[in-house]
Symmetry: D2
Subunit: 368 residues, 4 copies
């Protein structure tokens, strides 16, 4: 992770977090450990827990040895987790790093609110904007809003790995397969492009007619859900909206159709509806088979979870998009530690200067 | 022009402009005549002049026969034109269609301002927004701001025709030529993509590091002006900013380099600087040769005018982008005639409903 | 023409043709003049005529001034041409350059046959191989058989210019147009690829199932003539075979279909059949309209002649493919002049050493 | 495997091998079991062994249950294998299916030679053609010579999976990486194309200048070994020749370079030379690290074995190319069983009629 390595060198010199307490809620696994180490190198005192169910305890041991205070224990219940979040909030951290806004919300009524926080997820930011508008009395930098994520992660990392994992998990070729992509946002654009490069005959289903027109001018077929359900062979959802492919559409699909979701919302495919009508048989790791009342058979990858991450052996996010995400965090936290007063209160995008510094540095790395 | 044909059928039924006076300033040539006819079919009384220097008088005769009142005469001076604009403003038109905002500005102080206007150009909109902010007491719909134009015209029509006209005018192949594209906006994206499809080795020069990073992830080389000037063979500007390639950069270029502008601003290449130092010899229609003090020779297409339009025999805007632009005009004028009160005053983008109707209709046309 | 320029420098030193008579039949126009000059620079005495109907007499005057003996006069009849060919054969040239084999055949029964000849065309080579097998008592190098022509001229120059000229002549966009390519040889491969790059939905019709399978794995739709006639919007023939699209197939085509031929045989489209049933109206330079008995309208480019060359303003062969063809000629003639004894008698491909020298040199030129 | 499934249905009806003994040497693993079953369904008596080191004994048990006589036992020595081959040859099979020609050679001096044989590999065919020319007194159909394999397996399956496995195994992105492809045969063409689709900056190194020129016109950079060694970041060999990247070239490579071979010959990279000078440390499954005397570090995938197959978790050949290869076998064996007299003796390509039937059928399958 060359971007983060540059940050670490800088932090070792400048010690931007000296004497500051940071409260963390983060996935605790080997890759994120590098971010924690980087912040420790910058002088931070860290009090952290993981996201439920993803914590790897050898990483926890490693980070404890490195000086972080991780209060999570194995096999905690939801009650334990809530108590942990309360503990971190009660420690009155100067800065908060959150995944999902639960920790941030607990800091609202603190006697000593943080000088600022970062929120990793779009859904956490949505919660703060919709439900707690006006109550967020400190700046919250929303990492996922960075335009760099759209480019590096959504279009290229997700686009490329989605097609890779479909090919690898199913061992089919996409040449001349009729592949239907739902959504022509950044992810959908990438999936459509990388799928065409594999010889697939791509159709885009997009309810926004302006984006649909863009897909057509980019050379892709466009269709409605009903039309596409009738002729598609592989269906990939990447819209961020629930119930994009309802069970009724699945009834229109041809025998052998393959369904894949890569949107963050795991309800884009109506998997519960499918299970009600068509059972579920595991035929291979990460692939389930569903026999429809019509007698036709559908296949689902990773039970409708984000397939590029969730299939067995899936590459997950690329090193580059990890490096990008952590550096967005590190620079945002540094800004909060050094100059939170320059920011407005409430949820806000990553400042342009940070995006530009990262873009410039990543370009330099790519070119050498 | 199938979109506009649909408009005309509708207008013949609904007569949205019955009894209304429209004041026009528009390029008067055969293609735009179709727009004028469409509005006449909707019941409009039209009082019009052309943009200086582009009027074709056989089109004028045709439109007069069709019922439009065109007050322009051949070989008018700037004074005549100003007087013509005054005449139209004084006629107190209900609706105004303008190219460059000069007619709109004349309507500000009218006793009876129009219910609304359309402005075709970005530069006209800029003038209204910067210099006359707060004075525009009626809605002005800015046609060029439509996202449909970015897709259909900038990325695809300009991108494709720029590469076409360079190949046709110079009769060189682009295979393995080092082609430098300045700007990675919509036009630049299209030029880079269509150039790569011709086998060119594309480099993007873009001062916004976020867009530059996007270019790199899209697979293109990136460089600074100075670097690119040293290795490029063909240089294409598409930034919308002046003096993107100053004379000093031209001094770094290799013998035989070809310079092309497709941005709307004809000062992206420093042509005056080049003429001062390196003369100008026409070696072929639309191609000039310039012998530098170093003894090296540069070539310029169309004297730095928008090459996709200005080279001899250049295709100009595609039928599709004409059809799109005129339909944006027709629908915006209809909305102003029928329901101007639903809009805010001042310059504003084309309403989403209009963009969506056109996108939907154009998609239907492309799919049949 | 950088390859030919290198030849000329070499010939000026080595004078490989000193004292030799060359008999020529060649298109006499400005570009070919450069080849004639190159051979004159090598010491050749040249006695030449043009191909009927293509001679430009200002080029003839230029070449006479340069020292070539051109016996063709304006407005000659077929009888005159035959007499001219007899005259050249009777001059007992040491070396012959021919287009169509008529001159070569006249040299068979000469008391003093040439030491060798080059034949430009595939059809001339076919004639020698089929009808005069065993009678060709000297080596004849067939220029058009060079694999370099397949790469540079067929796949890339023809592929690219075919798509360019269709777009320019018709002023339609190909985005999402259903374009049918007949033949998946080198030309067809290029046309399909460059058409897809313009956003077209390509279908390949190919009677050889192995080539059809290649097209499918390359990502293209495949279909039979009957299927494709039913859904296509633009039809392009590039097979080298007659009557690929018979009139009966045209009857299946949708209103507005566009027919284009780029194969060397101008009978790939059944134009006589179309004229018998559907008349012919010129609607625009190089575009004719044909109203079918069904009432539907078809359009034909350049009356079914090779459209990339024959449409008004068509670029013709690229400079690069001209340069390649002439250099193949110059090197083959040099080998015949210096070492004809090393070759077998009869028609034969360009020797590998010549192809390799040209490939190496062209690569060097492309890379600098 | 839909092609092979069609064969099986046909064989169950026609029983082309009824009463015939077949001698087999084949990889005995689950996929090849389907071929054996297909031939059993056609009535064959099968006496078989596996290729040393690849046999899976649960497959052996399965095939024994299905009626095949497999004489191989676990952990056999080279002497045992030779004895097994002798046993099969001594059984005087009517038809032989071989991998490497060792079994075929043993049948030469049999009192009762087979009516015909198939040989899977190019290297086996080479041995028969070079060393035993004139001694092969029965037809031997060489499966690997089929043009269908070049299309389906080499260009697309190998091209695509090579790039996939590099990305997956190293978890790097190829965007703007300088990737050097050695060889522009069918495999190299595929690798270069699929690599470019991932955003890589591709350079082709090819000693045949005609193929190198093709690469340049296809849009790729070209270079010599020495040039490319100096600037490349990822090196992929696909030439079929030994020692394409000698140790001396590795000394020129930059720190962090990655070396990959996908050619059938595992000596394309000079791995022994590398081990002599730079040791070998396993840093990750399928990735070794080598510290050069210069202090720079190189990485090698799968120790220079065919990386698309040999890396941990490598997809291996696609289902489609397996299906193709087995159907080429099944149809060739059927022809030998039914009409060996129609064929010449000695090694020969798969008959055109078989290639065409398979191409036609595979196209039909791809289109539905």
């Amino acid at each position: 992770m060359p971007l983060l390595a540059e940050m670490r060198s800088r932090f070792e010199q400048s010690r931007p977090f000296d004497g500051m307490n940071m409260g963390f809620r983060i996935h605790l696994e080997p890759k994120t450990a590098v971010l924690v180490e980087t912040l420790l190198a910058g002088g931070a005192n860290i009090l952290a827990i993981g996201n439920q169910g993803t914590t790897q305890f050898d990483t926890v041991e490693f980070l404890r040895d490195a000086g972080a205070d991780i209060i999570e224990q194995p096999d905690e219940s939801k009650t334990d987790i809530a108590a942990n979040l309360d503990t971190i909030a009660a420690s009155e951290p100067h800065i908060v790093l959150d995944n999902g806004a639960e920790l941030i919300i607990r800091c609202f009524d603190n006697g000593a609110p943080p000088v600022g926080a970062t929120e990793e997820t779009t859904s956490g930011a949505f919660l703060l904007r919709e439900k707690y508008q006006g109550q967020v009395g400190f700046p919250v930098i929303v990492i996922n809003d960075s335009p760099l994520k759209a480019i590096v992660e959504n279009k290229h990392a997700v686009g490329e790995s989605t097609i890779d994992e479909i090919v690898r998990t199913t061992n089919i070729t996409l040449h001349r397969k009729r592949v239907v992509v739902f959504g022509y946002g950044w992810c959908g654009r990438g999936i459509a492009m990388y799928g065409r490069d594999r010889g697939a005959d791509i159709t885009v289903v997009e309810i926004d007619p302006i984006k649909a027109l863009e897909a057509a001018w980019d050379g892709f077929n466009t269709a409605t859900l009903e039309e596409a359900a009738g002729f598609g062979e592989v269906f990939i959802t990447a819209t961020g909206r629930p119930n994009v492919v309802p069970y009724e559409a699945m009834e229109l699909m041809a025998d052998g159709a393959i369904l894949v979701n890569v949107g963050h919302v795991d309800t884009e495919l109506d998997i519960p509806g499918l299970h009600r009508h068509a059972g579920r048989t595991v035929i291979k790791t990460s692939v389930t088979q569903h026999t429809m009342p019509s007698g036709r058979t559908l296949f689902v990858l990773a039970d409708g979870q984000m397939a590029n991450l969730a299939v067995e052996g899936g590459r997950g996010n690329s090193i580059e998009s990890m490096d990008l995400g952590f550096t967005l965090q590190a620079l945002s936290l540094e800004l909060l530690a050094q100059d939170a007063a320059s920011l407005d209160n409430g949820p806000q995008p990553v400042p342009t200067a940070i995006n530009e510094w990262i873009a410039t540095t990543m370009l330099r790395i790519m070119q050498t």
